[in-house]
């Protein structure tokens, strides 16, 4: 079972690295969207500092959302998804492997590039750590919950807007607590509560979302 997990994870990572240009796209999108805000509002440090947590988190949300297709679309279109579902291994484990690969390829880079964006938007140094930590706890939830949405819409033609309609409302708690953690940390206050909440949501998503995704995939396959 562990082997099935690691083999699938390795396959997805290998595939991603074979088409490296696509790999960077969500990351570039993330940086691009964040850098639009100073242009649209004003390059004033005061204003940007207030907006920074929200801007960074919303951009992270959108960036993950746009990359969700990568989770199942190709496998669905070339029939590999059928083979995964005919595996003697539990589908939940395979789903978890795919989500894990997705997070490593999209969520983790966002976490790593966040300090740079924090600097762009004048986030105080002491809050940068919290920004990274909140993204570290929050982005896996985005991948996990997004997997449910994408497995329901993968068979729908032009399902992109539909996917955002389904998934974005479910992202709201992560957005609220993630952005708030950064906000509060900028004021130099304790963010233990916010981070614990994010951790709890992650634990919940980790245990339930793969189950829901597996069910959703079976529904999609029964077309």
């Amino acid at each position: 079972m562990l082997k099935a997990f690691s083999h699938l994870l390795a396959r997805d990572l290998r595939l991603a690295f074979r088409s490296r240009h696509e790999l960077a796209n969500p990351l570039i999108f993330f940086v691009l969207v964040v850098s639009l805000f100073p242009l649209a509002v004003a390059p004033s440090a005061e204003l940007l500092q207030v907006m920074a947590p929200g801007v960074i988190w919303v951009s992270a949300l959108l960036s993950v959302l746009l990359s969700l297709d990568r989770l199942f679309k190709q496998d669905y279109e070339d029939g590999s998804l059928d083979q995964l579902m005919l595996s003697p291994n539990p589908l939940v484990i395979l789903v978890l492997a795919k989500v894990c690969a997705h997070w490593l390829l999209t969520g983790l880079p966002l976490v790593l590039v966040a300090p740079l964006l924090g600097m762009f938007l004048y986030v105080p140094d002491e809050a940068i750590g919290v920004l990274m930590l909140s993204l570290l706890l929050g982005t896996p939830v985005l991948s996990l919950v997004g997997a449910i949405g994408v497995s329901l819409t993968v068979a729908v033609n032009r399902g992109g807007v539909l996917l955002s309609l389904i998934v974005l409302p479910l992202y709201i708690p992560v957005l609220i607590f993630g952005a708030n953690a950064v906000d509060v940390a900028s004021d130099g206050l304790s963010v233990r509560g916010q981070l614990l909440f994010l951790g709890a949501v992650l634990a919940l998503a980790l245990s339930l979302a793969p189950l829901a995704t597996a069910v959703a995939l079976r529904i999609t396959a029964s077309r």
Partner: protein, 249 residues
């Protein structure tokens, strides 16, 4: 015994049987809903005492609060029927869920509109990011997501199952969303904003409110049966019994 109950459920949930029975049931919900609605509105708008703080404008709660309750209630009903449909493959349950969604969305919309109308004299603006209004707005998005998914999948059975799963995922999320929004709200606005439900409510206000809530539930029951009947006819349009029915017209 269990077998008997199961057989009964199967028989009742067959579309043909449901169509016959629900036709007889509708008046039993619709008439009381109408009467209670008239009575509740009369009591609420003319008899209930004027609020000493908000004057007459508070009276919109007799619409707003039942609508907000229904918006939540219907979503839960949908989740339960979707679960029944997914687990026991009862098509009727899926149809109830599908038939409920637009009603729920309208109640949510009504709650939002009345909420903002009530907000104008209260807060001086039509829209304030109050926790409850924000939660209602998110709920409206959840309804839209359900309906969009339902209508974008061609195969009816797949559409039912997919959107059914979505509504179940949504219902698990609602408490989390609700909690985070509440928390977000107290954080950013403080506790100065008045809440809709006051801890102590005059009995003359409470009774019309409960009457209106009951009327709304009965109204929903009547409408959902009507819509589910349409759904049954549409989905079974090629079956013999529906053709016979059409011939009789």
């Amino acid at each position: 015994m269990i077998k008997k109950i199961w057989a009964w459920i199967q028989r009742f949930s067959s579309p043909k049987h449901f169509y016959a029975i629900s036709g007889k049931l509708i008046p039993w919900f619709a008439v009381p809903a109408f009467l209670l609605g008239i009575y509740g509105l009369y009591m609420g708008l003319f008899v209930a005492p004027t609020d000493y703080q908000q004057g007459e404008s508070y009276r919109i709660i007799f619409i707003h609060v039942p609508a907000a309750w229904m918006s939540m209630f219907i979503y839960i009903v949908m989740a339960i029927s979707a679960a029944i449909g997914l687990i026991w493959q009862i098509k009727l349950a899926d149809m109830i869920a599908a038939a409920s969604a637009p009603i729920g969305a309208w109640f949510t919309f009504l709650a939002l509109v009345t909420g903002s109308l009530w907000g104008k004299p209260m807060w001086g603006a039509y829209w304030v990011w109050d926790a409850r209004l924000t939660s209602e707005l998110i709920l409206l998005f959840l309804y839209f997501g359900y309906m969009a998914l339902q209508s974008s999948i061609e195969d009816q059975r797949t559409a039912d199952k997919a959107s059914g799963l979505l509504v179940i995922v949504g219902v698990v999320n609602i408490p989390i969303i609700h909690y985070s929004v509440e928390w977000w709200n107290t954080l950013h606005q403080g506790a100065t904003v008045a809440k809709f439900d006051k801890p102590s409510m005059h009995i003359d206000m409470l009774i019309p409110l409960l009457v209106m809530a009951l009327a709304a539930k009965l109204f929903y029951a009547a409408i959902v049966l009507m819509r589910a009947r349409n759904e049954v006819l549409y989905r079974e349009r090629n079956r013999q019994w529906v053709r016979d029915l059409v011939k009789k017209l």
